[in-house]
Symmetry: C2
Subunit: 150 residues, 2 copies
DNA sequence: TTGCAAAATTTGCATTTACAATGTTTATGC
DNA sequence: GCATAAACATTGTAAATGCAAATTTTGCAA
């Protein structure tokens, strides 16, 4: 038999709910360092991928590019990142972590990892791997739709 | 062997990414009705659960209560919800869908369901059920932490 | 019953965000 | 080689958000 549609059992609802919760928990820790969650995400991506153009960073962090532009301004003021226009292509901009930013994000990542750990502690290694892969897959499915019907 | 920590393979990252994407897609549809995603979520919860107090609604929709207060004001202005103070407890407030709000959310839910469908189309029924349950479980794990260490 | 704490919501205010418009720099067609 | 388009990034502006403070109503103890 077909189940009736339940909003609170829908994927977007469950997704948003756990995402917001996890974000809140971590944000409290970040506040002690005078940081926001988007700032952390930017630093974490830069740490992993190295210097990025603004638009690429925007895609990786899933934050609107104009928002990111201002965010980077604030982070630069804090001495966390550098922003330079490369000589070979002056319309782009190259964002990178400073030493201080690197140090800070290295301190914070274990805390983020801890919250992740708490969330997934009731799952096996394989289950977590499957789950993460599913999230990746679903994202791709939605991206495909986005390309098909703009 | 232990894998190095990869931010872009972390659960919070994958979660946020797919959540934002799905939200964006649906938001575009909502814009045609002059609605925002939080507004839809409020309506969907009210549709499923019936009238709610503001604080309960806040918990269900995972939106900050002061934000919700203003959101409800805007929705009331649009004629989507009613807001009354019950006689038996004048410090609470009772939010409920109007007929118009009910009609609107009934029209929108299939669209939301469609995007969900697109996202999870590559998974079996059982897999989706497992996935949703996992998200619920993880949320609970985090809630427990929240209660343990405030 | 009166006064005080708790519960629930609202508001003040500063920050963040999104969309559109604008500004630069590079690439392309003729 | 020059005009024009395309690619990237920034800024103007209005709306959304979050925290703290204020407000209103209820519950409780003396």
């Amino acid at each position: 038999m077909k189940m009736p549609y339940r909003f609170t059992s829908s994927f977007p609802y469950l997704l948003n709910r756990v995402g917001v919760r996890m974000g809140e928990l971590f944000s409290r820790k970040l506040a002690a360092h005078d940081l926001t969650l988007p700032m952390y995400r930017v630093m974490a991506v830069l740490r992993q991928e190295g210097a990025q153009r603004l638009s690429d960073l925007s895609a990786m962090v899933t934050v609107e590019i104009s928002t990111l532009s201002r965010l980077v301004t604030a982070m630069k003021r804090k001495g966390l990142v550098s922003r330079v226009r490369p000589e070979d292509n002056g319309r782009t901009v190259r964002i990178d972590l400073t030493k201080a930013g690197e140090k800070l994000v290295d301190d914070l990542m274990p805390i983020a990892a801890h919250f992740e750990e708490v969330g997934i502690k009731t799952f096996s290694h394989n289950e977590v791997a499957w789950l993460k892969n599913a999230l990746k897959q679903i994202h791709d499915n939605l991206q495909d739709l986005d390309r098909t019907i703009p």
